[in-house]
């Protein structure tokens, strides 16, 4: 008796699963995606960190030194500027992760052997970059055939900006805002419409004069307010408990967050037009959450990721939002200096919302 019933339950379960295309897709999709993310996209050897150099010595030796730095492939030196102040500016607006400042007396410093020869200006908010800079800083200076042996381990002096004490909370909190908002906003909206469909409310609603846009926007706006409250909570607690600063304007942070929330809600609405059940809506949310954590620069420095992973990351709204939060909270950048990121979020919102409205059928067939 028992095995027959047991088998009956198992068969029923498999039959149901076979008809739930999204769940079925997840069974294959989730492990494949995880494997790709961890095995291929994410690589822990940091390479090609965006860098600029201010070579105030401009001697044969300094140029050789810069060439050696570039040779390591850890830095991708794309621009050359005149002053260390310009490096700071680029660091603040997020154009580079590392700035190399070679002082005018570079050659004398090399001969001196007791002084560091150059400065590494780094974004201290990212612990991976800090540790990579540590390795770079002890790179020897070569002079023609031989290299100078130095008594101290350090060739270069590291000047971490924005988080000189290297506290983890300072690094984590701005990114965490993005992760928490992504999770709750996606889930709220994705489930909200699907629930109405499951309960039959939608059949009634689409038979009333309410328009699709009214329905969608009306669903989204209350959650924008909820998202902004969540933001206040995280920023407030981060401030009180972990002393995480907001160096830029709070208004800018809120403006950026409002756009980011709108982007997530639009995406959530789109998911709700794909998912048929609340369970499927949850699955899709988690499916998107994983790359949001791994590819956004939250865990690994964005610059250090391979090109393919960066392209995927650029598509995710959270990538742009983390740049905004880190920029405003830690580096004191203004929202206007981060205008490109805001623009990307707006574009994303527009595309997702249009897709959602188009996919949402006012009919049942």
């Amino acid at each position: 008796m028992m095995p027959i019933r047991l088998i009956a339950i198992m068969r029923k379960e498999l039959l149901q699963l076979r008809r739930d295309r999204i769940s079925l897709g997840m069974i294959v999709g989730l492990p494949v995606m995880q494997l790709m993310l961890f095995g291929y996209a994410i690589n822990m050897d940091v390479r090609n960190l965006g860098a600029a150099v201010a070579d105030q010595a401009n001697t044969h030796m300094s140029r050789q030194f810069i060439a050696d730095l570039a040779q390591t492939q850890v830095l991708s030196i794309t621009r050359s500027v005149a002053t260390p102040e310009q490096l700071e500016e680029m660091l603040r607006t997020g154009q580079i992760s590392v700035g190399v400042h070679i002082p005018a007396d570079f050659d004398r410093r090399v001969v001196d052997r007791t002084r560091t020869v150059a400065h590494l200006l780094i974004d201290g908010a990212d612990p991976t970059i800090v540790s990579v800079a540590g390795q770079l800083a002890s790179m020897p200076v070569r002079f023609d055939s031989g290299s100078y042996n130095r008594p101290s381990a350090r060739t270069m002096e590291i000047r971490p900006f924005y988080n000189p004490e290297r506290r983890t909370a300072v690094n984590v909190v701005p990114g965490l805002i993005g992760v928490i908002l992504t999770l709750t906003m996606l889930m709220f909206t994705a489930v909200a419409i699907v629930r109405e469909r499951e309960h039959g409310n939608l059949e009634l609603l689409i038979n009333t004069p309410v328009s699709t846009t009214q329905l969608m926007v009306g669903k989204v706006i209350p959650y924008i307010v909820i998202g902004l409250i969540q933001l206040a909570l995280i920023v407030g607690i981060g401030r009180i408990l972990f002393d995480v600063p907001v160096r830029g304007s709070l208004f800018g942070l809120y403006a950026g967050a409002a756009v980011f929330i709108a982007a997530n809600l639009s995406l959530g609405l789109f998911l709700s037009t794909v998912a048929r059940t609340q369970f499927q809506a949850m699955q899709l949310t988690f499916f998107l959450l994983l790359p949001s954590i791994l590819l956004s620069g939250f865990v690994f420095p964005f610059d250090g990721m391979p090109k393919a992973a960066q392209i995927l990351g650029e598509i995710l709204p959270i990538t742009h939002f983390i740049r905004i939060t880190r920029g405003i909270m830690l580096r004191g950048a203004s929202i206007f200096e981060l205008g490109n990121e805001v623009l990307m979020l707006l574009l994303f919102t527009l595309v997702a919302l249009t897709a959602a409205v188009m996919r949402f059928s006012r009919r049942l067939d």
Partner: protein, 315 residues
């Protein structure tokens, strides 16, 4: 403009196919204004699909429908404010109270704010929710839920009400109250299209169509359908109704035999010379004793007679 349109709904050749399954097959429909028009049919006969096509929720595979003088496919959005629709499943918000639901619907139909409160109070009183104004809709009984759904469907005073099996989860007394409301609405000029699988409800309609497997097999006033059934209805009081049923149902001229307690209800085609004699001799052949009378056909007989005719080829 509306007064000169005689019919609230006119459909011609309305067809809906889901893949190879034809849910509604070339349905012609004329629903007169300010009348209660019934869709009678078993589950899966195409009632819901037909109603959904009439309110624009489904696109017909073939044919067209004109509702309140407008083509449904072209003017679905203009029609929405003029139609009230009640789904088969309770589709209001269980986690909102009675008044909150009404308020929501009033806002959705953009019922003017200053008249909103009076309209809601009116409906609350009329539909018997005075004591339950602030009760969550999800905790109402089946009958109360349907009443609330009807109140919401008529809030914006629609010209046409489409009700999809509104009483399927309601006990008989609540059903009677519900129908009293429908008559009131029809008297005040609302056209009502209601689907049901209850015979007693179908009998109350001014006019009705019987649907079977997506086909309309009968259409007319209930009394007219009963008188033009094309069958003779006989009642048999047999000592052993089970055996009598077995004996009679084998006879080729007997269309149907239904057991009702100790009695049998028998349909014989009208063109038979003497149906009473036919039944008597058939029973005698099997050595069965029974009384046989001719009786007036009921709507159920109409239903059986007309659905037999259409599904005969299937079986």
């Amino acid at each position: 403009m509306n007064e000169n349109v005689e019919f609230a709904i006119r459909a011609r050749g309305l067809t809906k196919a889901f893949g190879s399954l034809v849910a509604v097959n070339h349905l012609d429909l004329d629903v007169p204004r300010a009348k209660i028009y019934g869709f009678l049919g078993p589950n899966g006969s195409g009632k819901t699909t037909a109603i959904r096509m009439l309110c624009g929720l489904l696109k017909p595979t073939e044919g067209s429908a004109e509702v309140l003088g407008l083509q449904v496919e072209e003017a679905a959005n203009d029609l929405k404010p003029r139609i009230g629709y009640m789904t088969q499943k309770f589709s209001l918000y269980g986690d909102l109270t009675v008044v909150e639901n009404l308020r929501f619907i009033a806002d959705i139909y953009a019922w003017p704010r200053k008249h909103q409160k009076s309209r809601i109070d009116e409906l609350v009183a009329e539909y018997g929710f005075t004591k339950r104004r602030d009760q969550l809709a999800g905790t109402l009984s089946g009958g109360q839920k349907q009443r609330l759904a009807l109140a919401c469907a008529v809030l914006h005073k629609p010209e046409l009400l489409l009700l999809d099996e509104p009483t399927s989860a309601v006990d008989p007394r609540n059903r009677r109250d519900f129908w009293a409301k429908l008559f009131e609405l029809a008297e005040n000029g609302t056209t009502i299209l209601v689907s049901t699988h209850y015979m007693d409800e179908a009998e109350r309609c001014h006019r009705l169509a019987i649907l079977d497997n997506g086909n309309k097999v009968a259409d007319g006033e209930p009394a007219q359908l009963q008188s033009s059934i094309g069958m003779t209805v006989l009642e048999v009081n047999a000592d052993n109704p089970g055996n009598a049923q077995k004996a009679l149902s084998k006879h080729p001229d007997i269309v149907s035999v239904t057991q009702l307690g100790i009695r049998l209800r028998i349909l014989v085609a009208d063109d038979h010379e003497d149906p009473q004699q036919l039944v008597r001799s058939c029973l005698k052949e099997h050595g069965l004793q029974a009384e046989v009378h001719i009786i007036a056909p009921s709507l159920e007989d109409v239903f059986v007679a007309s659905t037999r005719a259409s599904s005969g080829s299937d079986q």
